[in-house]
Symmetry: C2
Subunit: 520 residues, 2 copies
Amino acid sequence: MPDQPGPDTPRVIRIRPEDNVAIVLNDGGLPAGTELPDGLRLAEAVPQGHKVNLIPFEEGTPIRRYGQMIGTAARAVPAGSWIEESLVRMPAAPSLGSLPLATAVPPPPPPLPGHTFEGYRNADGTAGTRNLLAISTSVQCVAGVVDVAVKRVRETLLPRYPNVDGVVALTHTYGCGVAINAPGAEVPVRTIRNLARNPNFGGAPLVVGLGCEKLAPEWLLAEQGRPAAGAGDAPGIVRLQDPSRQGFGPMVDAIVAAAGKRLEVLDRRRRVTCPAADLVVGVQCGGSDAFSGVTANPVVGFASDLLVRAGATVMFSEVTEVRDAIGMLTPRAASLDVARALVREMAWYDSYLERGEADRSANTTPGNKRGGLANIVEKALGSVVKSGTSAISGVLAPGERVREKGLIFAATPASDFICGTLQLASGMTLHVLTTGRGTPYGLAAVPVLKISSRSELSRRWPDLIDLDAGRVATGEASIEQLGWELFLLMLDIASGRRQSWAEHWGLANELSLFNPGPVT
Amino acid sequence: MPDQPGPDTPRVIRIRPEDNVAIVLNDGGLPAGTELPDGLRLAEAVPQGHKVNLIPFEEGTPIRRYGQMIGTAARAVPAGSWIEESLVRMPAAPSLGSLPLATAVPPPPPPLPGHTFEGYRNADGTAGTRNLLAISTSVQCVAGVVDVAVKRVRETLLPRYPNVDGVVALTHTYGCGVAINAPGAEVPVRTIRNLARNPNFGGAPLVVGLGCEKLAPEWLLAEQGRPAAGAGDAPGIVRLQDPSRQGFGPMVDAIVAAAGKRLEVLDRRRRVTCPAADLVVGVQCGGSDAFSGVTANPVVGFASDLLVRAGATVMFSEVTEVRDAIGMLTPRAASLDVARALVREMAWYDSYLERGEADRSANTTPGNKRGGLANIVEKALGSVVKSGTSAISGVLAPGERVREKGLIFAATPASDFICGTLQLASGMTLHVLTTGRGTPYGLAAVPVLKISSRSELSRRWPDLIDLDAGRVATGEASIEQLGWELFLLMLDIASGRRQSWAEHWGLANELSLFNPGPVT
């Protein structure tokens, strides 16, 4: 697709033959008067990542990218114009009432056997990519004490357990001062519960509670369907208000002692060879630009297809970045039930945003727009490319634990941190994030692999970007080549043979719960 | 009020002569058959902090505590019964339409001159109680990098600036992935902006931003009315996507360098004698029990009156813990405008909870109930006692900066962390928290002073509780004595002559924003 690379050759990309706009690829954009490869001359300068119209537009001309309408022209402009944001009138979101449901289910792909990673096998059959001690919490009240205890565990205990990769405090701002019986409150509750059961934590959660909170620690240990079988010792609760302890020192001692018992068990674990089918990969994008949908996201989509062929689980998410492309997804649902679940999650979010007097257009950021994305329609069409071409075999409500293999839509907000937290709760063991503008994103609980949509970002952040998908735009590599590169890199990182940059630097963003209910 | 102390003497407390229930004070409660000082025999065992009815109840008898109706009897019970939660039918919240407005404004109290503290004077006239470097952030994306930078600042720079008390990262989960134009979004935006202007940070905020986020760093530096005058150098922004920097190392270096410049300025500051009028004290309660309203909160109320007499600012908060007692507050409003602002904040919260299909009853926790609080009405009546008896001279919407002296109602949710964060944004420089069940609460930005409602908690947590108000219940001290003790302790802690226990141990809870709008 790209033209011959060369720093000064004008380069544009049109995704589908029916598109009437193309994206400028050159670093720094292209000046007015530039002659494009097909002979069209630019009527004005067009920045990198931004759209140029290939035919003259009348007011109301449908603007097509990805073969889809991303809006209509707000006024007439000659061919070769910069189709900037104000020229694109956003269409209404697709109606949810008349979508094609499971009408074009992709056939089962050819299996991809023989790929493995070295993982930590859990009693419940899942496999972790890291061997971490998690200290979960029922309420923010305990967070200060847990921080002190974790610091002590890191300094005094962890060096004695070389097979344990680290300690993660699962602190959050929920638990009390919240309407725990309001509609929607089940989302943060199950998120906190399922976070502690992430496969990277070995199965038996350690919970620190206060004693008077609404979200009692027992709630977090309560079983729901699939048992959270322990890797050895019994689940433990440390309650700070326990009257048998006197003061701050003994509180910290109790947490450290419980952590020590857990570390003993975790330290005896060893990596074993697991089929790639045991991977649970969460994909998302953060700080997208117009390149995301043509370089980084297609590479992720290709790798996602490889993972599905290998029998693994791939979760894609971000309702507001799927909503406008939903008509491309419901036909791919593996069954009517799955298709209806997709529609259910879209409808829930529509109503959630409406209650807050907002809509999906609240999603796009100034950075998205500077990066060439005119609106949420264009952003969504580029975003869903991450899902590849497989059948969609399941849908999760926010924070639900994944129980199926294959391609799963895990409904989440698009906020990087809320999405990441919910994917962790769903059981993700490896996270892939594509970025156009650049974000130093990381998570403490799983390795995060970052893919740049442009080579310029990868050159500027060589020690933060793990894979440069900008090479697709320059013609240095194909989507297929980079998709395979990413697939193999994921297996390496999952096995602990390599670290992602975020892991190397210890970059970890905060957990961020999705609480659709009010606080009190 | 209390009976003669003695470990086995039955002790109960009736707040007002018109009350028909009393509270059992004895540790461990009182057994069935106990004869109370007035001759009544307990029909059954009553736990500590719980209510006993002093007259026989019919179904529908109004139950009175604090001279107010906290509910009606759900069924007939003989005198001397344990009036536990299920026996108390909760009344509807008081109507907001017919409240007495500014009808009983307390006269100006006698001034209390001569009290001072040693504080850090800022260019805008405010005075800090600590000399802290704050690193504010526009978006969660930067939090991982800021954490790394703060660690380096603490380890390598801070030891060279002995007059600076510490470094505080103002990280939060807002900034992007949010509906920034939705109604209510102004709350988190002004909270983040005003947090950076807390008097304890010396005036000139340092902001780390990403570059593509919705909440641009400029928003945080924008003036609103009162200028955020710097203590010396110009406000600074470090943007991680700045193309002049290559990679992670230079990002961290840039933050550390900006922090170093700020530390140079802060280190030259010295404490100066300030009138007590320059104090901005925020009060709240966390983990309340039935003692809170008769011991700890009255002590805080007495100290609050002393502060107001000294010309200082006292903020009380927590809408759902004020709502049912609003009829006792609107008469005390200093003007009709203030009274109407009180009503406005109650009405806003009613509608906020209604949108989320919750109501004020979502406030009480299992711990509150075990502690003897039957419902939110009883909790609220005990909670507002913290406000003392002064006229209410102003009302702040959540996160607004305080501009007046005297007693201020700062509208916030009751969640300890959201309330604390909003009071910090309003300009609090010292925080007082009363607790019955016990919480190890702390904040990084200001000293937090914790007051126990029961002596048992203070004995159990001697290194977390700063003042034992349980001595009011045992008769060891009067409310007046402890109110003065607290007032003088606040001046000592504000001056840095003493540390609160939370500060001593470095206990700091996370900042927690109030975002009434949806996330995207």
